[in-house]
Amino acid sequence: MESIGVLMMCPMSSYLENELQKRFNLLRFWTSPEKSVFLETHRNSIRAVVGNAFAGADAQLINDLPKLEIVSSFSVGLDKIDLGICKDKGIRVTNTPDVLTEDVADLAIGLIIALLRRLCECDRYVRSGKWKQGDFKLTTKFSGKSVGIIGLGRIGTAIAKRAEAFSCPINYYSRTVKPDVAYKYYPTVVDLAKNSDILVVACPLSDETRHIVNRQVMDALGPKGVLINIGRGPHVDEQELVKALTEGRLGGAALDVFEKEPHVPEELFGLENVVLLPHVGSGTVETRNAMADLVVGNLEAHFSGKSLLTPVV
């Protein structure tokens, strides 16, 4: 298999690079200053693309790679892959579901507590020596607050299960009601926001869910409500979010994802009711290795004619 060209779109895991290098001819897209020349040079040897949440396989790339057979994403999200074209051309697509569910859900809860109880601000308060001048102010309790989840898939369900342990009533929005679920369903995101103290984005990104958290939703959530985004940046109208936070119309936000990563709106840096993370939802050694194993496993299965482990297309 050493002659099979695998194009990796950006740095994502040195463990994954090593494993791919052992088995394939690994081509690192980010090391080439002239991308079009690079593709021209290697177009006939590249049979697989490995992408992630930042860079995948859009229409242009797929059209530039005539020998492309499989796109294996180092993520569960597929928003960076043109699935329609892959289906049309018979290109297989795989992702990394399940192995990262727990880490993302853990982080969502960690962000809720960090935001409501101001853990990051408290840490800053102590490190700056301010504690010697007086106690930190009161914060807001988490236990018992209502949690509204947009999208009750694997990750949404895992978040609900954790929040229940804090005696939180759980509400959700989803395209359809889930029949065997004990949580309260709301038919619109605005209704969900109106009836929840904490709103969590946990659905896939698609044309329908782009800006699913818009100004109307933020106003419904209100000055006592908080938004947690562990989905994708474009789920939230970021410009509106900045306005809502700076104008005090929204109580707070904890964000792991942004519309144009790694760029984060300047206005958010000075706000004490905002927690910002550099897209680390699945960012643990254990989970990234498990994701890498899935990527490698899917590619090996494909090129030995076996069934894919986690196919999407």
Partner: protein, 312 residues
């Protein structure tokens, strides 16, 4: 016809220094028709003179942790019948003297327990997933410059040892179970109705844990309970979370272990000499610090006010 009014003399409750809850919630925090509040902190007189000046003696005292109820203070209050703390801990009250004088001592019960448990879990996730450190990284505009932040450690399936399984410890346990953690505990006595593995010895529990969460009382038996041997047993990847009392942990040893990489990280809400925190901790990214506010949510304090009303 004259109407005579019987003036009821209400029991008098002393507050020496204004507790945090009163600063925020005002007098309504302890307002009651059943007792009268005597605020020593509003008088310019030193406490002994202030108390001598009172026309009716004080029979109860509200004692936040920064006002130790010592034998000397008790001596100034010959009619004292009840001490009510604003904390769950009563280590700042001379219990021996209270027993001798037949004075009841009541604490805040479990008004705070949920908040403290929430903070303990929050600190644990923060240390394992580097939330505060990564938030600093982004807010310092380092993400576009330095690229990805170093990876954290998965919480699921981690072995968590809870030191003290009272109301706070139990709440921490039920929360962490939902994250897929394996819970064990150490406590004065085994609790037969509880499904978690019991260790009589904290050091042995540390040797079999990825993190320890300190939720026990401070007593002479738990002073510096978490010491060099426990840190060595916990190991280089191990994490300590302390939401109980600073003195349960040997702080100098903790600082040394953290600086030398002998343990993996710490989340600390309490310290041996508050509000002083060892400066060496400020250089470390694997430490999350909190100014003894695990218990201070607005809702928790409102609940505390209700408890005071009931206790009297």
């Amino acid at each position: 016809m004259t109407t005579s009014y019987i003036t009821q003399v209400l029991p008098r409750v002393l507050i020496v220094k204004r507790p945090a809850a009163m600063r925020v919630l005002g007098d309504s925090f302890v307002a009651s028709t059943k007792f009268e509040i005597v605020k020593a902190f509003e008088s310019p007189l030193p406490l002994p003179e202030f108390l001598a000046d009172q026309s009716h003696p004080v029979s109860a005292i509200i004692a936040p942790v920064h006002v130790p109820v010592t034998a000397d203070l008790i001596r100034l209050l010959p009619n004292l019948r009840l001490v009510v703390t604003t904390s769950t801990g009563v280590d700042h009250v001379d219990l021996v003297e209270c027993r001798r004088r037949d004075i009841s001592v009541a604490n805040a019960g479990s008004s705070y327990s949920e908040d403290v448990a929430d903070t303990a879990v929050g600190l644990l996730i923060d240390v394992f997933r580097r939330i505060s450190a990564a938030n600093r990284f982004v807010k310092q505009r380092l993400w576009p410059l330095k690229g990805d932040y170093p990876l954290g450690s998965k919480l699921g399936r981690k072995r968590i040892g809870i030191v003290g399984l009272g109301s706070i410890g139990s709440m921490v346990a039920t929360r962490l179970e939902a994250f897929g953690c394996q819970i064990s505990y150490s406590s004065r006595n085994r609790k037969p109705s509880v499904p978690y593995h019991y260790y009589t010895d904290v050091q042995e529990m540390a040797a079999n844990s990825d993190a320890l969460i300190i939720c026990c009382e401070l007593t002479d038996k738990t002073l510096h309970l978490i010491n060099r041997d426990v840190f060595a047993a916990l190991g280089k990847q191990g994490v300590i979370v302390n939401v109980a009392r600073g003195a349960i942990v040997d702080e100098d040893e903790l600082v040394r272990c953290l600086r030398e990489g002998e343990i993996g990280g710490a989340g600390l809400d309490v310290f041996e000499d508050e509000p002083n925190v060892p400066k060496e901790l400020f250089e470390l990214d694997n430490v999350v610090l909190s100014p003894h506010c695990a218990y201070t949510s607005l809702e928790g304090l409102e609940q505390l006010g209700n408890v005071f009303g009931l206790e009297y």
